[in-house]
Amino acid sequence: MTLEEFVTAFADEFDETPAESFAPATVYKDLDEWGSLTALSIIALAMEGFGKKITGADLRSVDTIEDLYNLIQTK
């Protein structure tokens, strides 16, 4: 999955936030819709899309969608 595809898949996990709000540099934790459920969706996305396991601490350790994409690659 490319970074661009990851940003699109990331955006798909949100219902209320418009797709144009998502870019590699988006600080996802600042989004109003970011919460425990969307966090779980992203963890599932990492498992489904990359076969990689990320934790709650991983999600807290980075800020942007691109940071997270890069972190998943290191797993």
Partner: protein, 333 residues
């Protein structure tokens, strides 16, 4: 000799916590969002003086009344719960007295969570196969609501209280096939009530709030959602394949999948991971939420009542629970 499910029933407390009430407590939730994301419309919650054993007894008494099975014939009692009436004695003993069951009875409590029904059924089958008993009453009952912090949005939204009663016998409506069961205590702290047991007897009074405003305290139910999600997805396919292999079956042989269901979010992920068509995957949490060890028996009961589960069908049941401990089995209806 073979072992069978002879009858099955469930009971829920009268008290209900609706999505409207949850949304009123947690304004960041909406009624629609809870239902869409979790597939739960309401969960039943026990009153302060109502316990898991009360619900389990209700489920069992109704079962005896409606099926005509003589409760005098019960010679083994298993109560699966993590909400016992007391630290001691065994709640199953209290249930024996309250239900007027035979004195010639083995009574044990089994402390297991979401896979409690699967493991309980494996125990019941073992007891029957060994000739130790002819009619096992397997009860499950859970009231996690009593362990939750009142501001715990995640757990209060997901979990409901409930109980089930199953009679396992030498004849009945569903033959109990072979089991695969496993354990990995590495996950023990990911779903836990840390204090109150002998290790940490006194309350810790260490309440704090996480990034999402959820309370975290050693004195209440704590669930590490991300860790539990990863655990649920990571080994699911292997567990399903192992259970199928143990029963000499393939995925195509299974007519209905009745799994432990935490919520619709996880259920859909599991269904997609396993590539199960929706019509073969039974979902039954809308009116109960996650009742822990009672989700599978409740789902089986409702599938039978609603005509979704009929004679001749093979059912695969999988449950991954806290501990961690997991299990799977095939039932031949």
């Amino acid at each position: 000799m073979k072992a069978y499910i002879k009858a099955i029933n469930y009971a829920l407390p009268e008290g209900v916590l609706t999505n409207e009430e949850v949304a009123a407590m947690f304004p960041e939730w909406t009624v629609e969002k809870i239902e869409k994301k979790l597939g739960i419309k309401q969960r039943h919650i026990t009153a302060e003086n109502e316990t898991a054993s009360d619900l389990a007894i209700q489920a069992a008494e109704e079962l005896f009344e409606t099926t005509g099975i003589d409760k005098e014939e019960i010679d083994y009692l298993i109560f699966v719960t993590q909400s016992p009436d007391y630290h001691l004695p065994t709640t199953a003993c209290v249930i024996q007295k309250r239900m007027g069951l035979s004195h010639n009875l083995t009574s044990i409590d089994v402390n297991l969570g979401c896979n409690g029904f699967v493991v309980g059924l494996s125990l019941a089958k073992a007891v029957i196969m060994a000739g130790q008993a002819k009619n096992v009453l397997l009860l499950t009952g859970e009231t996690y609501s009593k362990y939750m912090h009142e501001r715990d949005k995640s757990n209060r939204t997901i979990f409901g209280d409930g109980a089930s009663a199953t009679v396992v016998s030498t004849e009945g409506m569903a033959e109990i096939g072979d089991f695969v069961v496993g354990t990995d205590g590495e996950g023990a702290e990911n779903l836990i009530v840390k204090t109150g047991g002998a290790r940490h007897l006194k309350p810790a009074n260490d309440l704090e709030f996480d990034d999402f405003g959820n309370p975290r305290s050693s004195d209440n139910l704590y669930m590490d959602g991300p860790a539990i999600l990863n655990y649920s997805l990571e080994f699911l396919t292997k567990l399903v394949n192992d259970v199928l292999a143990k029963n000499n079956l393939t995925m195509d042989d299974i007519d209905l999948h009745v799994y432990h269901q935490a919520n619709i979010f996880l259920a859909n992920l599991e269904r997609k991971t396993l590539r199960i068509p929706p019509e073969k995957y039974w979902v039954c949490i809308e009116n109960t939420g996650n009742t822990v060890s009672s989700t599978i028996p409740i789902a089986l009961c409702e599938a039978l009542r609603q005509g979704k589960l009929t004679k001749g069908m093979k059912v695969l049941s999988i449950a991954q629970g806290l501990g961690y401990t997991w299990g799977g089995m095939v039932l031949y209806f």
